[in-house]
């Protein structure tokens, strides 16, 4: 079984180094899908349904065709003609310029038969609500999870608390929208796609178009963010391919921001009714939750309660609820921020009731040994002891408070394959069909390969983002690093051994005596031979040494802990919450690159703040349209909302590589909510915690 060498012996991994494609990105040379261009390329766009529930009676495209510059039109895009949300794809067009395209979209004449619809969770749960699917109830059968015996658990409890929490729908809205640039090369289809899964998209599209896999190629050199929303093949890719065929020209179809908001996934909302019991000594004995969430017309609105803490008796019933909205897709730590917002507040409420410090209460109910250490490190650095015991005790209208919350994550990753070529001039290429979402995968691959071969990062040419390369899974679920890094390590190790054999023969020593270090190949022991990497590669008889390798057990692991501390300021005159400071202890295993790791943690926290305070999909109840499908009214954190963030990387290299992308976004909203309570003495139990809700809560408290 392959093993990582000890951290002290590593020259690159575990250190700080800038990403290898940084220069390309800061100069604008990096070409994303949105930037692809081919001679004769047309611009494609999708017409989305105007109504949240309707039968398409007729689509008249004659006016569209009458516009000069229109080259292809599709009116049979929808499989059944029965639409279930605003924005659902019903027609498409390709034209010679973006301007003509915009005009063309407005020339479709669509006849709809409007049907009743339902938009919001609570409303859709009512018996009389219109059904999203005629033959199915909006409220799905419950999924039940049971451990221990909750009745007994509550019987043991000395304090029982009940409360209800509500979270909103959040949209991934990566800055590069979803889309593809496609062209046909004979009967082969070449797709540039903004995707988290080049192989997955190839398989999906081949199936949808009924084509053999080898006739479809998917490429994604750079991509502008996905956060889980780009894990699957897109209907837009199929549409682009059909438009391209019809017009016999390349087509680039990137969704506009409005369709991006409506059709490319979201984090489901949640309604959590929780009952929790504990003993006076602070042991939680029982937990019961009934939760609901809507993933629109899709499923997967689960709420991962009780998320972090170890409770012997748990019962959780969850119902997915259908609404007339675009289907949810994975979004950074699916099911977790919702759960954490509710659970961390529940924990604080219970701690208060028991007269315990919230941190002590958590230590008592957290069985994870790593997190036990992390809680202490974080509390120390944050200055938890300065937290005021009595909420709302600051004088004046602006009040400060502190709160905390815990991170968790489960899966590791497996299955990646890779190949490497070493040329007789010393150049090295690595090929792997993974992709870099901005997490730094390209750089990590170079780092692992360079570490193994005793080279520098810049000596490794990394090729990723192409379905022609060895298979790697989708980049989601924080699985990429734990899946890719071992594969690269094994491939490089194999290459090293092959090259080592040649040198051993050359020097007439045993292969075990060959060492690769600092750009040299050395025969250790008596032989005292040494060649530069380049000279060594010169011994390759064939001009290229090619090896294949894959993921193996023992280099990565699953199970991630972590915790966060938040300090906020609440203006009780305006209801505005400002996050002042976050201290995060991030659980890292073996760190590949400290810089990109810190960046990932920052990103998770900032998205968490955004979720806590600003973001929310808003549907107009009269039309079912989203009123805020833009960055003016769908508000996300900007520079001025970014607090001081301190990231403490807690590394345990012996655990190997673990995923770090999702856990840091989980506890932020709960930690902030607890800090808000500590500041003003009222709980905000619904996300986002906007000024109107804070003012309302303060007014209720006075009354």
């Amino acid at each position: 079984m392959s093993k990582w060498k000890p951290l002290e012996k590593m020259k690159i991994l575990g250190k700080k180094y800038p990403r290898i494609d940084g220069a390309e990105k800061v100069t604008g040379r990096a070409r994303y899908t949105y930037d692809q261009f081919k001679e004769g390329m047309l611009y494609g766009a999708i017409l989305g349904s105007r109504y949240p529930a309707a039968k398409i009676v007729k689509i008249d495209d004659s006016m569209v065709w009458s516009l000069p510059g229109v080259k292809a039109v599709l009116t049979d895009v929808h499989p059944t003609g029965r639409v279930r949300y605003v924005g659902e794809e019903i027609a498409a067009v390709a034209a010679t310029t973006p301007e003509i395209l915009g005009e063309a979209l407005r020339l479709f004449r669509v006849e709809y038969e409007k049907l009743p619809f339902t938009l919001y969770l609570e409303e859709a749960m009512k018996d009389e609500a219109p059904r999203v699917f005629p033959r199915r109830s909006n409220v799905n059968k419950p999924r039940i999870r049971e451990e221990g015996n909750v009745e007994q658990g509550f019987a043991q409890a000395e304090v029982v608390l009940e409360d209800t929490f509500r979270t909103q729908v959040q949209i991934q809205t990566p800055l590069e929208s979803h889309g593809s640039m496609v062209y046909w090369d004979g009967d082969e289809l070449i797709i540039y796609d903004s995707t988290q899964a080049v192989h997955g998209v190839r398989e999906g599209i081949a199936k949808m178009l009924d084509m053999p896999l080898h006739k479809v190629r998917v490429i994604c050199h750079h991509m502008g963010g996905g956060f889980g929303s780009k894990l699957q093949p897109g209907i837009y890719t199929v549409i682009a391919a059909r438009l391209a065929k019809q017009a016999n020209a390349p087509v680039r179809l990137m969704l506009d921001r409005q369709l991006e908001f409506l059709t490319t996934g979201n984090r489901p909302d949640s309604l959590s009714r929780i009952k929790m019991g504990a003993k006076r000594d602070g042991t939680i004995t029982a937990f019961f939750a009934k939760t609901y969430g809507t993933a629109g017309i899709g499923n997967g609105a689960g709420v991962r309660l009780p998320i972090v803490y170890s409770i012997p008796n748990v019962r959780h019933e969850h119902h997915d609820v259908y609404t007339n909205a675009g289907a949810a897709r994975p979004f950074r730590a699916p099911g977790c921020p919702q759960a954490s917002f509710a659970m961390e507040q529940m924990m604080d409420e219970m701690a208060e009731k028991l007269g315990m410090d919230p941190l002590q209460f958590r230590l008592k109910n957290d069985s994870n040994p790593t997190r036990q250490k992390e809680w202490m490190i974080g509390a120390e650095r944050f200055g938890w002891h300065r937290r005021k015991v009595t909420p709302a005790s600051d004088p004046g209208p602006i009040k400060r408070g502190m709160g905390l919350g815990a991170s968790i994550w489960w899966p590791g990753g497996r299955g990646t394959k890779a190949s490497m070529k070493i040329y007789s001039d010393g150049s090295v290429e690595v090929f792997c069909g993974t992709q870099d979402l901005g997490t730094g995968t390209r750089t990590h691959i170079a780092a692992v390969a360079a570490e193994e071969l005793g080279l520098e990062l810049k000596q490794i040419k990394v090729h990723i983002g192409d379905s022609n390369y060895p298979r790697s899974g989708a980049s989601g679920g924080s699985t990429t690093s734990p899946s890719v890094a071992p594969a690269i390590k094994n491939t490089a190790e194999k290459a090293r051994q092959e090259l080592g054999k040649i040198l051993a023969e050359h020097w007439n020593v045993s292969p075990e005596a060959i060492i690769f270090s600092d750009g040299y190949v050395i025969a250790s022991g008596e032989a005292k031979q040494r060649l530069s990497w380049k000279e060594a590669c010169g011994l390759l008889e064939t001009d290229v040494l090619e090896v294949h390798g894959e993921w193996s057990e023992g280099l990565s692991s699953s199970g991630v802990a972590g915790c966060q501390f938040a300090e906020v300021e609440v203006d009780t005159d305006t209801g505005k919450i400002r996050v002042l400071r976050i201290v995060a202890v991030a659980d890292c295993g073996l760190i590949l690159d400290r810089l990109t790791t810190e960046s990932q943690v920052n990103g998770g926290i900032i998205q968490g703040i955004s979720y806590a305070l600003f973001e929310e999909r808003l549907f107009d109840p009269q039309t079912g349209a989203m009123v805020n499908p833009n960055f003016e009214t769908y508000k996300i954190v900007g520079t001025m909302e970014t607090p001081e963030i301190e990231v403490i990387l807690f590394d345990e290299p012996e655990r190997g590589v673990i995923g770090i992308g999702e856990p840091p976004t989980i506890p932020t909203s709960g930690a902030i909510a607890n800090a808000v309570y500590n500041a003003i003495g009222v709980r905000i139990k619904s996300l986002p915690m906007t000024p109107d809700k804070v003012l309302q809560a303060l007014a209720n408290q006075k009354a």
């Binding site: 005009e103 349209a625 009123v627």
Partner: protein
Amino acid sequence: MYNFEYLNPTSLEEVSEVLAHSDGETVLLAGGTDLLDRLKEHLLRPRQVVNLKNVRELYTIERNEGLTIGALVTIADLAADAYIQENYPALSQAARSIATPQIRNMGTVGGNLAQRPRCWYFRGVEYRCLKKGGRKCYAVEGLNKYHAIMGGGPCYIVHPSDLAPVLIAYGARVTISGANGTREIPLEQFFQLPAKDLKKENVLNENEMITRITLPPQPENTYSLYLKFKELESHDFAVVSVAVVLHTRKKRITDASLVLGGVAPIPWKIPEAGALLKGKELTEPAIQAVAEQSVKGSDPLPQNGYKVHLTRNLVRRALTEIQQQL
């Protein structure tokens, strides 16, 4: 965006010629930060777009007994002007609170005053609301968290301009020129409620334009302040904003002007503020009285009652800040 004919006059004279021939399908283009947004949303289909940016006369900030600001002066230049910072500080504050550095470099004073509302129903092409010739105001039964708490009906937009409340508080006048001549009116009278005319927010006619704003000189011991509450500090329109200008002599208020932004379809003047404060010192009870007065008669929609609290609190805060300078 539909195509249009682009006209590029280089003098006011040429603009006047163009406007004289306009047929109701001509729109003016200044910085474009509002107009392009609406063109892209297909909210209008003008035959002609008249670029004003090459009209040099409109770029001046002129000191006279007061101040004259050309319509094409950018928000950034307004914010950076040292004389304005010194003599009309609330105007600088308002300018700095607008949008983003990039947009402040592009957007103009004239465009800021003539910009159209941000109401999400008005901006969405899918809603045929009253303003667009439809039959209902969607905000009434829809999502109205940012809508008017005063002066609304039958349409409940709020006026988005940050400059307007301050300019009105300073007693600004606006010069409007058109094919039929030039008129100068108090800026306060420039804006009009939906009850008067649903289709537009001001008295500009099709073939007219704003050429400049004139500010009267402010007496010694004038205190002024613009407080803007936005949800996102990075850039956001005002949820509520407060412009205050107080003239004082020996700590006593000789004249007071209070104008609210973000609460009504027009910049909302609280005329009683003058009467409540005139001749008085700025004491706690006086501040409280003005704060209460500022929300009297407010009539919130189901989701924007919080704006009443917010307005009251912001007025109190603004006056308290001035009190500390006095």
